[in-house]
C-alpha cells in the first residue's frame, strides 16, 4: 500500500511538473533561509557554554548615573575592586581581575626558527581566574604558573606559532613591549571560537604595573573582574554588600553616582550595553528579530503550499472518489495526502540543504563567525531538520488533505467536483494578504535601512575624512623622542599634505570623557570629552575654527581648543566670550584659546559631545596623515618605509579614516544585507504564492470565464476582471503593513541621533512594487485563462 501510494505521489508530482516545480522552489528557498537562521542562532547561542559551575560565574560591571545625562555603563571596574571584593565578600568563592593590554611581542630567533615579532593583545590575569573558568591545561598549572611576576602562559595555537611546537614552549622566554622578559610557564587549550574570552597570551597579574592600580576613580573598560559565587548565593541579595563596598571605597561627592552589578556569564555575549573582550555581541533583540524573520519565511512558504495544493485538489477528486468507493477511509486518505506533502517537503529540504551549503560562505563573511553546517558536529541541526519537515508537512498539508479527503464519492466519481467545493476562498485570500503584508513590511524596512545608510554616508561629519591615514605609533618615552623627526620626514614625502599626532581621530570609538571645572566653579554636571592632539590636528582634519586660534606647538598641556557644543552646554552665546577662560580637567588647568565648529566625535548614533582638544605628548598613540588622493599608494608605501626605519622594534599598522568610519556602522551594514536578502526571498515566495492563488481562481472560474467570453467579453476585459480582486488584496495588505512597519522603523531609527527624514516614499515604493509584482504574476496566468477556447470549458458533461 505504502509503495503504491508513493508511486502515485511521484507520478502526480511528475504529471503536474509546473506545480511541483514552483512548490518545491518556494518551499526549498523558505527552508534554506530557516536553516541558515537556525545554524546562525545555534552558533550564537552556544557562546560561553559548558563551563563547570557556569551558573555561578559572574562578571562585575559598572554604571554611573549623571544628573543631567542619565546612566553610563562600562564592563570595566576600578582596578582595586577585585581585591576589595575578595576581602569583603564572603559570598564569593573566587575573584579574579583581568586586564587587557597590547604591545609588541618578540620571540628570539633560534637555529630552526626566525625571530617572531608581532603586535598582540595580551591579558594580565590573576591565577584565580582559572578556578572560575576551568579549562584544560596542557602544561603547567595555572595557580603556580601565574603566581609570580614576569611569567606568561600561552594558548596552544600561540605556543605553536611562537615555538614551532607547544611542547617546546615552557621554560622559554618572550619579550613584551620591548621592556619585559617573560618566562613561559604554561600552555592551555585554545579557547573556542564561540567564547567571549579571546585569551592567547596570558601574563601573570603581578607583572601588571599601572599608575591607577590603586585608584578607585579611574575606570578603563579593559579592566574586568570575574567572580565565582558560593553555592546557594542569591545575586539579588548582593545589592546591600555592593552599596556598602561603594560607600567604603569611593570618594564622596563625585558627580556621577557609581554602581556595580553582577552580570551572569550567560549574558556576556548578548549584552550590547557592556560588550566584551571579543567585541562580538549578539543582542537579544537581534536574536528575536531573526527568529521572527525565520517564522515569517516559513509561514509564507507554508501559505504557498496550501494555496497550490488546494488549487490542485480538483484534479485529484476522481482518484479520491474511486478510493472511497473501494473502501478507503477518510483517515487513510488524509494520511496519504499528508505523506505526499512530507515527500515534497523532504525533496525541498534536500535542495534547501544544498542552498544552505552554497549560502554559508556568504553568511560566514557577513557575521565573521565560525558557522558550520555539520550534521555530525552538531546533531541538533539534524533534529531541527526533521522537526522542520514534520512541522511544514503538517502546517502545509493538513488543510488541503482535509479538503480533498472530504469530497463526496458520488460527486467525485462523476467528476462533478468543481473548484467551488474546494474550501473557502476567503481563507486563501486572507493567507495571501498576510503574505503580502509581510512582503511589504520587509520592502519598507529594506528601503528605510538603505536610506539611513546613504544618509549617514552623505552626512557631513564636520571634518575631512578623505585620504587620511591613521597610523599607530608606539607611546613609550623612548619612541616619543623620535616623533618630531618622523613627522619631518613624512612631510617631505611626495603626496603628504599634513600630519598630526593625537590619541584619537575626530570620530572615534576611543573617546575619553571626564568631569571638569569651568572657570573655577565646582564640577559641571556633564562630562567633557577630551582629545590629546598636537598643533596640526585642526589643519590635518580640516576642522573649522570659528573663534580664537589653533593650539600652539607644545608637548605638555598648556591651552585648549573647545567645540561649539561645550559653549551651548555652558550657555555661552558669543564664542569670543570663552577665550581666555579656564577649564580644569584630569588634573590640568588651561585657558581656552580657540573654538572649533562641531564635528561628530563618534558615530551618528550619538549626539556630539562637548569636547576639548589639548596637547599632551605622553598619550599620543596615533598619527593622522593627510595625503593627496591621487598619490595615496606611493605615499603610503613611503610612509611605511620611514616608519619602519624610525621604529625598527615595532610593527607598522595603519588604516584609513573612511574605513574606520564605515566600521562604526558594521551592524547596520549586516542588517541591510540581511534585509535585502530576506526581502528578496519573501518577494520570490509571495510571487509563487500569488501564482498559486490565481491558478486556483482561474480554475475555479473557468466556466464563468468561458460564459463571459461567449457573451462577448474580450481577453483584456477578462484579465482586468481577474486582476482587480488581487489589486484589492495588495492594497489591504499594504494598509496592514504600513502601521506595523512604521512602528518597527521608528523604533530602529531611535538608535540614531542623526536620522534621515522619514518620508512617505518607502511606503509608496513598497506599494507600487507589490502592485507591479502582483500585476505581472497574475496577468501571466489570467491571460492564459482568458485566452483559452470557451468551447473546451463549456463541453457538455
Amino acid at each position: 500500500m505504502f509503495k503504491l501510494n508513493l508511486k502515485i505521489a511521484l507520478r502526480n508530482l511528475w504529471k503536474y511538473k509546473g506545480y511541483t516545480f514552483i512548490n518545491i522552489a518556494g518551499l526549498s528557498i523558505g527552508l534554506a533561509a530557516c536553516l541558515l537562521i537556525f545554524i546562525f542562532l545555534r552558533y550564537q547561542l552556544s557562546f560561553d557554554k559548558g563551563y563547570e559551575n557556569e551558573d555561578r560565574i559572574y562578571r562585575i560591571v559598572s554604571s554611573w548615573t549623571y544628573p543631567s545625562e542619565g546612566e553610563f555603563y562600562s564592563k570595566g571596574v576600578p582596578r582595586p575592586l577585585a581585591a576589595a571584593v575578595r576581602n569583603d565578600f564572603p559570598q564569593a568563592e573566587h575573584v579574579a581581575a583581568v586586564q587587557q593590554a597590547g604591545g609588541i611581542i618578540k620571540v628570539a630567533a633560534t637555529a630552526a626558527r626566525p625571530e617572531v615579532k608581532e603586535e598582540s593583545s595580551v591579558f594580565y590575569i590573576e591565577p584565580q581566574f582559572f578556578n572560575i573558568i576551568k579549562i584544560k591545561w596542557l602544561e603547567g598549572e595555572p595557580l603556580k604558573a601565574l603566581s609570580v611576576p614576569n611569567t606568561v602562559t600561552l594558548s596552544k595555537e600561540t605556543a605553536d606559532k611562537y615555538f614551532g611546537k607547544w611542547q617546546n614552549a615552557v621554560g622559554r622566554n618572550i619579550r613584551f613591549a620591548n621592556r619585559l622578559d617573560l618566562k613561559v610557564t604554561g600552555v592551555f587549550e585554545d579557547f573556542p571560537d564561540n567564547s567571549s574570552f579571546p585569551f592567547k597570551v596570558v601574563i601573570s597579574y603581578l607583572t601588571y604595573k599601572d599608575e591607577s592600580l590603586h585608584d578607585w576613580q579611574s575606570v578603563s573598560s579593559s579592566s574586568e573582574c570575574y567572580v565565582l559565587l558560593k553555592k546557594g548565593t542569591d545575586v539579588s541579595a548582593l545589592k546591600t554588600p555592593v552599596l556598602k563596598l561603594i560607600d567604603k571605597y569611593y570618594e564622596k561627592g563625585s558627580v556621577g553616582k557609581e554602581h556595580h552589578y553582577f552580570q551572569p556569564l550567560s549574558d556576556i555575549h548578548y549584552s550590547e550595553k557592556f560588550n566584551n573582550f571579543t567585541n562580538k555581541v549578539m543582542p537579544g533583540s537581534q536574536i528575536i528579530g531573526l527568529i521572527v524573520i525565520g517564522a515569517f519565511l516559513l509561514l509564507t512558504a507554508c501559505i504557498n503550499f496550501i494555496n497550490l495544493a488546494t488549487a490542485q485538489a480538483v484534479s485529484r477528486s476522481k482518484e479520491v472518489g474511486i478510493r472511497k468507493v473501494m473502501g478507503s477511509m477518510r483517515r487513510q486518505l488524509v494520511l496519504q495526502f499528508l505523506s505526499e506533502t512530507a515527500l515534497i517537503t523532504f525533496i525541498a529540504l534536500l535542495i534547501a540543504s544544498a542552498l544552505t551549503e552554497l549560502a554559508l560562505p556568504g553568511m560566514r563573511n557577513l557575521f565573521s563567525g565560525d558557522i558550520s553546517f555539520s550534521l555530525f558536529g552538531h546533531p541538533i541541526i539534524f533534529v531541527f531538520m526533521i522537526a522542520l519537515v514534520l512541522v511544514v508537512s503538517f502546517l502545509a498539508g493538513f488543510y488541503p488533505a482535509m479538503i480533498v479527503s472530504g469530497f463526496s464519492p458520488a460527486l467525485a466519481i462523476k467528476n462533478k467536483i468543481s473548484a467551488a467545493n474546494v474550501g473557502a476562498l476567503g481563507l486563501r485570500k486572507a493567507l495571501v494578504v498576510i503574505q503580502f503584508a509581510i512582503t511589504a513590511i520587509l520592502i519598507i524596512g529594506t528601503l528605510v535601512v538603505i536610506n539611513q545608510m546613504t544618509f549617514m554616508r552623505s552626512q557631513s561629519l564636520g571634518f575631512n575624512t578623505n585620504a587620511i591615514a591613521l597610523i599607530d605609533v608606539p607611546s613609550d618615552s623612548l619612541s616619543q623622542l623620535k616623533f618630531n623627526t618622523l613627522k619631518e620626514k613624512l612631510l617631505h614625502i611626495d603626496g603628504v599634505k599634513g600630519a598630526s599626532f593625537c590619541n584619537a581621530a575626530p570620530s572615534s570609538t576611543n573617546n575619553n570623557t571626564s568631569s571638569f571645572k569651568y572657570n573655577n566653579t565646582k564640577d559641571q554636571d556633564f562630562q567633557l570629552s577630551v582629545k590629546s592632539t598636537d598643533q596640526d590636528y585642526i589643519s590635518t582634519f580640516s576642522l573649522k575654527l570659528i573663534a580664537g586660534r589653533t593650539l600652539s606647538k607644545t608637548d605638555t598641556v598648556r591651552e585648549t581648543v573647545v567645540n561649539e557644543t561645550l559653549l551651548k552646554k555652558l550657555n555661552i552665546k558669543n564664542p569670543n566670550e570663552i577665550l581666555g577662560k579656564f577649564i580644569a580637567t584630569q588634573g590640568h588647568k588651561m585657558p581656552v584659546v580657540g573654538v572649533v565648529k562641531d564635528f561628530n566625535n563618534f558615530s551618528l548614533h550619538d549626539k556630539i559631545e562637548p569636547t576639548a582638544l589639548f596637547s599632551f605628548k605622553q598619550v599620543y598613540n596615533l598619527m593622522a596623515v593627510k595625503m593627496e588622493p591621487g598619490q595615496l599608494l606611493p605615499a603610503m608605501k613611503a610612509i611605511e618605509r620611514e616608519w619602519n626605519n624610525t621604529f625598527p622594534d615595532y610593527v607598522y599598522s595603519s588604516s584609513f579614516m573612511d574605513d574606520q568610519i564605515s566600521s562604526f556602522y558594521e551592524t547596520e551594514r549586516v542588517m541591510s544585507v540581511l534585509f535585502k536578502v530576506f526581502a528578496g526571498v519573501v518577494i520570490f515566495i509571495s510571487f509563487i504564492g500569488l501564482f498559486g492563488l490565481i491558478s486556483f481562481i482561474a480554475t475555479q472560474r473557468t466556466k464563468e470565464i468561458a460564459i463571459r467570453k461567449v457573451l462577448g467579453a474580450s481577453t483584456l476585459e477578462l484579465v482586468k476582471m481577474l486582476n482587480s480582486s488581487f489589486l484589492w488584496m495588495v492594497l489591504i495588505a499594504n494598509l496592514i503593513a504600513w502601521p506595523v512597519s512604521y512602528i518597527f522603523i521608528s523604533k530602529w531609527l531611535e538608535g540614531f541621533a542623526y536620522k534621515a527624514p522619514l518620508s512617505i516614499w518607502p511606503f509608496m515604493i513598497a506599494m507600487l512594487l507589490s502592485i507591479g509584482i502582483t500585476l505581472i504574476t497574475v496577468s501571466l496566468r489570467s491571460y492564459r485563462a482568458a485566452n483559452t477556447n470557451p468551447i473546451d470549458a463549456l463541453k457538455y458533461e
Binding site: V710, A713, S714
Partner: protein, 225 residues
C-alpha cells in the same frame, strides 16, 4: 447573411487527420429558422461553434454579413460578435454567482451600454418573459426550463440579429421544451431574428423553415420544411 464556402475542420493527431467537417458549403439568409440535424459525432456542434465564431475552421471561407470572418482581427470579430450573435446552450451556462437580473445584464456590460439603458432593457426582457418576480434569484433556485428562459433572455437582451442554439431543449422535460420552441418560433416570425439550432428531435426541427442533415461532417441533405 451567412455564407460558408468549403469549410473544413480536422484535428491532426500523429499525422492522422481526423475530420470533423468536410467541404461544408451553405448559405443562410436573414430571417431563416434553420435546424442542423444528424447523429452524434456528425459535427453539428462544431459547425454551430464555427458559425458563432467560437471556433475557427481549418480551411474555407466564412462570410458573416458580408465580412470575411477568417481574415478579421480579434477586435473586429468581437465587435461583430457582440452586436449580432446570441448563444443558447443545452446546459444553460448561467453564471452561478449572479442573480437572474445580473446574468441577463452581463452581455450589455461588454457592449458598453450605459447604466440607465441596461436597467430598462433588462426590465423589458424580464417583463416579456414573466420573470420579474424571479429577478433576484440565483440560477440554482430555478427549474431547468426557467434557467433556459433566462439563457434565452440573456441572448436576446443584446438585440442580436441571430441566435445560435445548441440543443436548447436537450435537458428539459417535453412541456418545457415545447414552451421554449414556441418562443423561438415567435422570435423568428415576429421579430425576424435568424435562428440556427442544433437538435436531435424531429419535433423541434419541425418548428424551423429549413433542415440541414449532417453525416460524418458532410451535408447530406438541405431541405425546406
Amino acid at each position: 447573411m451567412i455564407e460558408l464556402k468549403n469549410i473544413e475542420k480536422y484535428y491532426a493527431n500523429k499525422g492522422v487527420k481526423s475530420y470533423i467537417l468536410r467541404h461544408v458549403t451553405a448559405s443562410i439568409k436573414q430571417g431563416e429558422f434553420v435546424s442542423i440535424m444528424g447523429p452524434s459525432g456528425a459535427g453539428k456542434s462544431t459547425l454551430l461553434n464555427i458559425l458563432g465564431m467560437l471556433e475557427e475552421p481549418t480551411y474555407g471561407q466564412y462570410e458573416f454579413m458580408g465580412e470575411d470572418i477568417t481574415s478579421l482581427n480579434e477586435r473586429k470579430r468581437i465587435e461583430l460578435y457582440r452586436n449580432h450573435i446570441g448563444f443558447v446552450f443545452q446546459a444553460y451556462h448561467l453564471i452561478d454567482e449572479m442573480t437572474v437580473a445580473e446574468n441577463i445584464e452581463a452581455p450589455l456590460l461588454y457592449k458598453k451600454v450605459s447604466g440607465a439603458e441596461r436597467k430598462s432593457r433588462v426590465a423589458d426582457v424580464l417583463d416579456r418573459f414573466n420573470m420579474v418576480a424571479k429577478k433576484d434569484l440565483f440560477p440554482n433556485q430555478l427549474s431547468g426550463g426557467q434557467q433556459q428562459l433566462v439563457g434565452i433572455a440573456r441572448a436576446l437582451v443584446a438585440q442580436p440579429s441571430i441566435i445560435l442554439a445548441d440543443e436548447p431543449t436537450g435537458n428539459l422535460q417535453s412541456a418545457q421544451a415545447l414552451q421554449i420552441m414556441d418562443l423561438f418560433k415567435k422570435l423568428n416570425q415576429e421579430e425576424g431574428i435568424t435562428i440556427i439550432q442544433v437538435t436531435h428531435s424531429e419535433v423541434n426541427a419541425a418548428y424551423g423553415s429549413r433542415i440541414l442533415h449532417l453525416l460524418d461532417g458532410v451535408i447530406k441533405e438541405d431541405v425546406a420544411v
